[in-house]
């Protein structure tokens, strides 16, 4: 789960990190009040959960009330990568002497949490990783949620040359680590961390992502979710315990298991078709799930045929068959269904569907060929 910069700034503040003075506004009059408090010039930062807002013109520096009003209106009309700008963070403009990149994240290959820092801040870290990998420094926490002080001086001095910034930098890392562990983050990033004209370190941006699997123990964080960024179908799927991702094609897919669901899409494409979605119904046999899945897929008017590909294990094929028949009773299915069932209770399922004039296939290849043919 992603949150906005202004929300991340709040988390930073409560962990004692130095952040830029300012607040979020939805209307001009709020923005004017904030600007008056902080003093001009201020920077208006569009709050969107997609990258590249600077390039899209989503950040503006203004020196007067009049400029603020004008820029605020321009930003509010902006659409960044298809998303509207609803909130704008108003912060005091700062005099920047130098920019750094710092982040805390999980390195899954090392089973560990890693601090990442680079003296080349303000730019895309993946770019730096490609162009100048030596500029990126890493410090592994060794499974702990604190800094191992024995190894620390070498790391911190590799980023910040002066001892003053090393002390401030250490505090910033400690704060970032606190934010990361207290909220089960997958990423806590400051890009850029800046040296101001007065010579202090300051977080000029804030980015925090949470581990979806850990949200059950952070009810408060769930309230930060911005539903504008959640695909309505994906949200509904989640509520029905389905895993769904919409794609561009016209062959709807209902599959049990994530790996098989991906493989099904891949083989549809290889066979000349275009998958309309990824959909994993999961391991249970609840017939309701088939109904929810069909409803979500059929909302996409591009879909010309649907493939149901089930490898029964815990999922029983006859339960899926019952789900298909129940769904057909309850909703109109205007496109052909191609059903492949193999595994637990396959025979019963096929008999049941055959009685109701639904053809079934035993192999994935046959079923995929059929559904691709029907989608043309």
């Amino acid at each position: 789960m992603k949150i906005h910069e202004y929300q991340a700034v709040e988390l930073f503040k409560s962990a004692g990190l130095p952040v830029v003075n300012g607040r979020v506004a939805t209307e001009i009059k709020e923005a004017l009040v904030i600007a008056q408090e902080t003093g001009y010039p201020v920077v208006l930062k569009s709050q969107v959960l997609v990258g590249g807002r600077g390039k899209a013109g989503g950040i503006k520096k203004v020196a007067t009330k009049e400029e603020l009003g004008e820029a605020f209106n321009v930003l509010k009309k902006l659409s960044i990568k298809g998303y509207p700008v609803e909130k704008i963070l108003v912060v005091k403009a700062i005099d920047i002497k130098k920019e750094f990149y710092v982040a805390v994240t999980v390195d899954s290959g090392r089973d560990d949490v890693v601090l990442i820092a680079s003296a080349e801040g303000g730019v895309d870290i993946e770019e730096t990783a490609k162009m100048n990998p030596a500029a990126i420094k890493k410090f592994y926490l060794g499974g702990k949620n604190t800094i191992d002080l024995a190894r620390w001086p070498a790391f911190i001095s590799s980023i910040f040359p002066g001892s003053k910034h090393q002390q401030e930098g250490t505090k910033i890392f400690q704060g970032l680590i606190k934010v990361f562990f207290e909220n089960d983050c997958s990423l806590a990033e400051i890009n850029p961390l800046v040296v101001t004209g007065e010579g202090h370190l300051l977080a000029a941006d804030a980015k925090v992502n949470f581990d979806d699997n850990a949200l059950f123990r952070h009810e408060a964080l769930e309230k930060m979710r911005d539903l504008t960024y959640e695909d309505a179908d994906e949200l509904e799927a989640k509520q029905s315990n389905l895993s769904f991702v919409k794609l561009e094609g016209n062959v709807g897919c209902i599959v049990n298991g994530a790996g098989l669901a991906m493989a099904t899409m891949d083989i549809i494409k290889l066979s000349g078709g275009q998958p309309a979605n990824f959909l994993d119904v999961g391991g249970s046999s609840n017939p309701e799930k088939v109904l929810s899945a069909l409803k979500i897929i059929l909302r996409n008017k591009q879909v010309k045929a649907i493939l149901i590909n089930i490898f029964g294990g815990i999922t029983r094929c006859d339960d899926i068959a019952k789900g298909i028949l129940a769904a057909r009773e309850q909703i109109n299915i205007p496109v052909p269904l191609v059903v492949r069932l193999t595994g637990t209770n396959e025979k019963e399922a096929k008999e049941l569907l055959a009685k109701n004039e639904i053809n079934t296939y035993s192999t994935m290849r046959e079923a995929v060929n059929k559904v691709v043919e029907l989608s043309k």
């Binding site: 895993s243 290889l270 490898f311």
Partner: protein
């Protein structure tokens, strides 16, 4: 031979009194797995599917001589369940549970350091050595004893592969589900090493997917050690997955150029793996390569 589980496996089931735990205990017993006990704190003394339940892993281990634990407890209790196994000195822990927080797994991996125990999973279907022992949730009847070792990050896609092999009368030595999470206890390279040493395994199937670097790391090892001794056939799921989207599994997300399916296919091909487009192409390849 076979790897990880066999006729000497003495299994305890953590979460045996739950919905999934009791169902799969019955399935495992029916397959012939030697289930010696169950564990649910506070429910010691009960019987589930004819199996005695204990209050703790330590007690269950002492009373039954268990050497493998399988975990079906809900995600929020799974870390504690794994740590209890490590503490009790279980040499093999197989965690089926899906949805563990990543930081819980960081803690688990730290606790396992330098301990004589191995974790398979979490978020995995388990391990089966056909005809000997089944520990997990896979449908036993599609498997068949034989010479192919199967290692996979997926569940039902593994069943698809196994089904195609068995249909062509090619059996399996052991099938290992690694799990779909970013941090897992056992990775491709660990299982490849085991299959390499296992005399019964004559060929290897590797089923990978988008996300992470495990296939790339395995490719180096395959190139150096495996392909000259045992043929490896691979499949990578997610060629049509859009970048940045989590595809069901927490670990299945394209976050960089080298975590795409095409990049993984290429690096495996370069390492000498025969990478197929459709799982049903695997049997013919093994028939040709293993006489």
């Amino acid at each position: 031979m076979s790897i990880l589980v066999d006729q000497n496996t003495k299994l305890i089931v953590q979460g045996i009194t739950g919905h999934d735990g009791s169902f799969h205990t019955q399935q495992m017993v029916a397959y012939g797995t030697n289930v010696v006990g169950g564990v649910t704190p506070g429910k010691g003394g009960q019987m589930v599917e004819g199996i005695l339940v204990f209050n703790s892993v330590a007690e269950a281990k002492e009373r039954t001589g268990a050497n493998v634990a399988v975990i079906y407890v809900p995600a929020k209790f799974a870390k504690a369940a794994i740590l209890e196994d490590i503490q009790a000195g279980l040499p093999l822990i197989i965690c089926i549970t899906e949805g563990l927080p990543v930081l819980d797994m960081v803690d688990v991996r730290r606790a396992m350091k330098n301990k004589p125990c191995r974790l398979v999973g979490p978020n995995c279907p388990g391990v089966i050595s056909p005809g000997k022992s089944k520990v997990g949730i896979m449908p036993g009847h599609i498997h068949k004893p034989g010479p192919i070792g199967v290692v996979s990050r997926s569940g039902t896609l593994t069943y698809e592969v196994v089904y195609n092999l068995s249909l062509a009368n090619i059996g399996q030595s052991s099938c290992v589900g690694l799990g779909g999470d970013p941090i897992i206890g056992t990775r491709f390279i660990d299982v490849l090493e085991m299959f390499l040493r296992d005399d019964e395994t004559k060929g290897i199937v590797m089923v990978g997917e988008i996300g992470g670097q495990d296939e790339q790391i395995a490719a180096e090892f395959i190139k150096k050690e495996v392909v000259k001794r045992k043929p490896v056939v691979g499949f990578i799921a997610g060629r049509t997955a859009p970048p940045g989207k989590r595809m069901g599994h927490a670990g299945a997300i394209i976050s960089s150029g080298d975590s795409t399916a095409e990049a993984k296919r290429k690096i495996l091909q370069d390492a000498g793996v025969t990478v197929v487009d459709v799982p049903d192409e695997m049997p013919a390849i093994f028939k040709q390569k293993i006489k």
